[in-house]
């Protein structure tokens, strides 16, 4: 008689914790990029394979979590955040992991080697991008506090600060992207044309990754604005 007690059934499965769990997997996925790129730069493709697999695994895990969250969001669930906003947030989070997998796949598939001249800037660029996703996670982590305070002014202030930091980091990646392109430009002659095109593409994708993280933060802004 206890398993279906009246009071306990009133509480629907809250999507907030699983959503934060999903973001955790996404950030983990992005973090594997650093060892992956270090291996790529060192031309150690055995090591790169290991890290590539880690990225793919984390992305798969995030995917599975995403599906589970969607399944547990029935329309009869009364939530303080509109259902559609939550689903949008979820797909934005998921995009970060997808982008990471694409980047790693693109490099690993072609065994694309990175010219040593841009290696240092590239690592810095990756680090900032990962930081951007971590900053997006810190915004998502404030969701339960927002709900707890009924979207009170002060917790919105905290979220605004976190989003500001996220924006700063994203801006930083933009500048690093410009720098790295400038460094790559004089090297074009030495590289094969296809490699050069792909390197530009990779750089662009890493920039997009930070963009995706920023968009996640923006989605929280939309939720808070109500």
């Amino acid at each position: 008689m206890s398993s279906s007690n009246a009071i306990t059934r009133v509480f629907g499965r809250s999507p907030i914790k699983p959503l934060q769990g999903h973001m955790q997997s996404v950030v983990e996925c992005a973090e594997y990029m650093l060892p992956f790129f270090e291996a790529v730069i060192a031309n150690d493709w055995k090591q790169a394979e290991i890290h590539h697999e880690q990225i793919v695994d984390a992305e798969n895990r995030a995917d599975a979590e995403k599906k589970k969250i969607r399944l547990h969001l029935p329309k009869s669930l009364f939530m303080p955040i509109p259902r559609q906003d939550l689903l949008n947030l979820l797909s934005k989070q998921d995009k970060i992991a997808n982008k990471t997998k694409d980047i790693a796949g693109l490099i690993f598939g072609r065994e694309l080697s990175v010219p040593p001249a841009i290696a240092d800037s590239l690592i810095e660029f990756i680090k900032t991008s990962i930081k951007t996703t971590a900053a997006a996670k810190s915004v998502i982590d404030e969701l339960d506090e927002l709900i707890e305070t009924g979207f009170g002014g002060r917790s919105i202030e905290i979220v605004k600060k976190l989003i500001f930091r996220l924006d700063q980091l994203e801006h930083e990646t933009d500048e690093q992207q410009i720098l790295i392109r400038a460094q790559l430009h004089p090297l074009e002659e030495e590289l094969s044309a296809v490699d050069a095109v792909f390197l530009y593409k990779i750089i662009e994708q890493i920039g997009n990754l930070a963009d995706c993280a920023q968009k996640t933060g923006e989605q929280i802004q939309v939720i808070v604005a109500r």
């Binding site: 206890s2 009246a6 009071i7 009133v10 303080p80 709900i147 707890e148 009170g152």
Partner: protein, 422 residues
């Protein structure tokens, strides 16, 4: 009259058994709903909850349950219609007890969210309207009760909404939530103590022969509230802020302050539950005892022997020990959504509403009132997900419970009539 003196003993024993059965059901299942919130939020262990439930359920039944017992035993049935046939009233009350007890047992084993109150009220209306006659039911009273079933969840929801809003405004959304929590939580404790004290003084003490004016009650209740707040303050000072608690949530330490408050609201909840639901179970028993002891007279006014409440209390404790323990454990582990800041609001508003209703003698459903309170907390954007479909089914369940209780009572009524009178 001859009949009552002849079979009085058997009828009394039967009434005690059925009454005990009903109280057992309340203890085994209903108490877990009332107290599960405190267990789920981590404010109390199951053991502590059981001990609080034992003490305060009994206190509530004894100090504030008199009015509800009175309503159940004589408020809904016009005694003048029955004056010539006291045995019919005895059969009716017996069948009402048995019907409500069995219905509760069946429903809770299937996990249907039914209410003790609705079962017993339905059963009494059933046997009175069909077994005796439509005129035997005091319909004005019945409609007032039914209306209260709609009003009580709304009221508790509103109170809960306001409580949560106040917590958010004064504590959670302030510059220093922790020190504000320490500052304001005793105010909530005062309110809890004041409310319980007031209802006990105004409605309860006259059953034990004490009469106090409203002014005096106000004064004593205030004193009582202050004492409660001071005890609370003392307990709060012993809570040490734990930096580890802030890891998952910025409000980790605030929650531990509210966990202390929840001990008090849990007492209030048990008190309220006792005043309403225990009284439900012993009301029909009290009616039967009254008739048998007076040798067959249907008295509108008779003193209720304290042993009846004792029996009800014992039944609840027995129910708690045999099954309630287990049920509370499972309910407790599932209500983790109600953190202390939310749970206290739900408990305090439900307890306030139920105790107020008990004070004016209206049997309301503790479970429904609590669900109303949970919705109020949710509406204040305090809970991240509430299953509206389940809420709907809970509020619909009383539509089923009334005819079910009534139908069973009617069957048992004619069964008893056939057994004893032919």
């Amino acid at each position: 009259m001859l009949f009552i003196s002849e079979y009085g003993q058997i009828l009394l024993i039967l009434a005690c058994i059925f009454g005990f059965f009903m109280a057992w059901g309340v203890g085994a299942n209903d108490v877990a709903n009332a107290m599960g919130t405190s267990v789920g939020s981590g404010a109390l262990t199951v053991k502590q909850a059981i001990i609080i439930a034992m003490i305060f359920e009994f206190a509530g039944a004894y100090l504030a349950g008199g009015e509800v017992t009175a309503t159940i035993r004589k408020g809904m049935i016009d005694a003048s219609v029955m004056a010539g046939t006291p045995e019919l009233l005895v059969f009716g009350m017996l069948s009402a007890l048995l019907a409500a007890g069995i219905w509760l047992f069946v429903a809770s084993s299937f996990g249907w969210p039914v209410s003790t109150t609705h079962s017993i009220v339905g059963a009494i209306i059933g046997f009175a309207a069909v077994g005796i006659g439509i005129d035997a039911v005091v319909w004005s009273k019945v409609w007032a009760i039914v209306a209260s079933w709609v009003i009580s969840p709304l009221l508790s929801g509103t109170i809960a909404y306001m409580l949560i809003r106040s917590v958010q405004k004064f504590i959670l959304d302030s510059a220093d939530p922790l020190s504000n929590a320490i500052k304001y939580v005793p105010v909530y404790m005062f309110f809890t103590g004041f409310m319980i004290g007031m209802v006990t003084l105004v409605k309860g003490l006259k059953h034990i022969g004490l009469h106090i004016s409203t002014g005096e009650s106000l004064f004593y209740a205030t004193i009582f509230g202050i004492i409660v707040a001071m005890i609370g303050k003392y307990l709060l000072n012993r809570v040490k802020p734990d930096p580890l608690a802030e890891r998952d949530s910025r409000f980790g330490n605030v929650e531990s302050i509210f966990a202390v408050l929840m001990i008090f609201t849990a007492c209030a909840m048990a008190f309220a539950h006792g005043s309403n639901d225990v009284a439900n179970a012993v009301g029909p028993l009290a009616a039967i005892v009254g008739i048998v002891n007076s040798g067959g007279e249907v008295l509108q006014k008779s003193i209720m022997p304290p042993w009846i409440l004792l029996l009800g209390g014992a039944g609840i404790v027995f129910g708690l020990i045999t099954l309630g323990f287990k049920v509370m454990k499972t309910v407790g582990t599932k209500i983790t959504e109600l953190t202390p800041t939310r749970g206290f609001a739900a408990e305090l508003s439900a307890a306030t509403t139920v105790v107020l209703a008990s004070g004016v003698g209206i049997p309301v459903s503790t479970t429904h009132t609590l669900v109303g309170a949970v919705l109020g907390v949710g509406l204040a954007r305090g809970i991240s997900a509430i299953n509206l479909r389940v809420v709907g089914s809970i509020f619909l369940s009383w539509l089923v419970t009334l005819p079910a209780g009534a139908g069973l009572a009617i069957i048992f009524f004619f069964m008893f009539k056939g057994m004893f009178l032919t």
